[in-house]
Amino acid sequence: MPQIDAPGVPRPVALVSVLLLLGLWWAIAAWLGDPRHAPGPDLVLPRLWEGVVTGTMLPDLGATLGRVVIAFAIAMGIGTALGLLLGVMPALDRWLDPWLTIALNIPALVTIVLCYLWIGLNETAAIAAVAINKIPMVAVMLREGARARDPALGDLARLHQMPALARLRHILLPQLAPHLSAAARAGIALIWKIVLVVEFLGRSNGIGFRIHLDFQMFDIAGVLAHALAFVAIMLAVEWLLLAPLARRANRWRQP
């Protein structure tokens, strides 16, 4: 029987798979025959290519990517810390759980508008708005993980009076790896979606800004080209960063 591979996507299969998806898209678009409402890759990819080669898309892509990266770092950091704390300290959790539920369900529009109004129409407000939107979600995911941790390993740490940092690094975080991985993947996608709204509501550049302009002009091909530019980056991040990281974190699992 073949060895089961470690999780993570080996490149050739992934490439073929993406090509397959493009083919499928092309076939559906050709079958629908409505290039205004359902443009195929033949209409969208040249737009994407042109935007990248002529460089017109790059500043927007850079701006959006910058916001996503910073907001992601902040949201993952604070959200993970908060989630761990709540998962490990049930007494605190009992007090803060309603706050978390409320924070989780405040609409993005409200946070974004309030951030812009109070902090001003600037980069700080934009990033704060995204981070505030995302933190409760990360916290909720990590809290579940922290609640489900193995008590025997906690006993081991207590027995040896392991320092807090060592506990975090060797005992808690490895147990939370699946939750962290899920939070990272779902999180980066969510953040990028919120960044789109943030850019729509108060920035003058970025992919979200462009997508909304294209939408005003009902340029669906343009909307898709801009969206795909970011999706392509996310695919690259997944293959070059997340998948190898996950592979590393999962090395110990039974083959």
């Binding site: 081991l156 060797h170 490895p174």
Partner: protein
Amino acid sequence: MISLDLRSKAHGRTQVLGPMRIEVAPGEVLGISGPSGIGKSTLLRIVAGLDTRFDGRLDAPAERAMVFQSPTLLPWRSVLDNITIPTQCRPEAARAMLARVGLAGHEAAWPGQLSLGQARRVALARAFVGTPRMLLMDEPFSSLDADRISDLLTLTQDLIAQHRPAVILASHSAAELDALATRRAHLSGRPAHLDYLETRLRAGS
């Protein structure tokens, strides 16, 4: 010096342990036997300071080591790291102790790649590598063959003689208890009470 004055210990609403006193001096080994499910592990966890929800008083050194009944290794750390990380010992010390329990060459393996007996020996090595003032052993030699056990018994005796920790050993095996215990006690009844059996004096205790 371990000193426990237990009035009662309950799991939920069922009382598991009744009143009992335990005093173990440095270099002494208290061997505790008793049927499965009587409360040996519960008692050891109380002494280890891992279970504080009991009624009574515990006075025990902070430098402690314990062989849990299950290996309790970190599956995501190598065998070597499983010893150095919790005990903060030097890698050479860990390597030497691994060799001593018959696991030379397995330093880089993941715990998931070990047999149960091998995993238990890693846990033994982890408990033995430091110089604790209190050593708690909960059926430390199960899943091992007779040759290996007699070898490890010798190792344990040497370590006790050298560092003189206060030791409590819970075991079903008369051979192990005979070899190590300076004093013996038996748990029985529900709630369990502790009966001290004949006391033999050993060199150095």
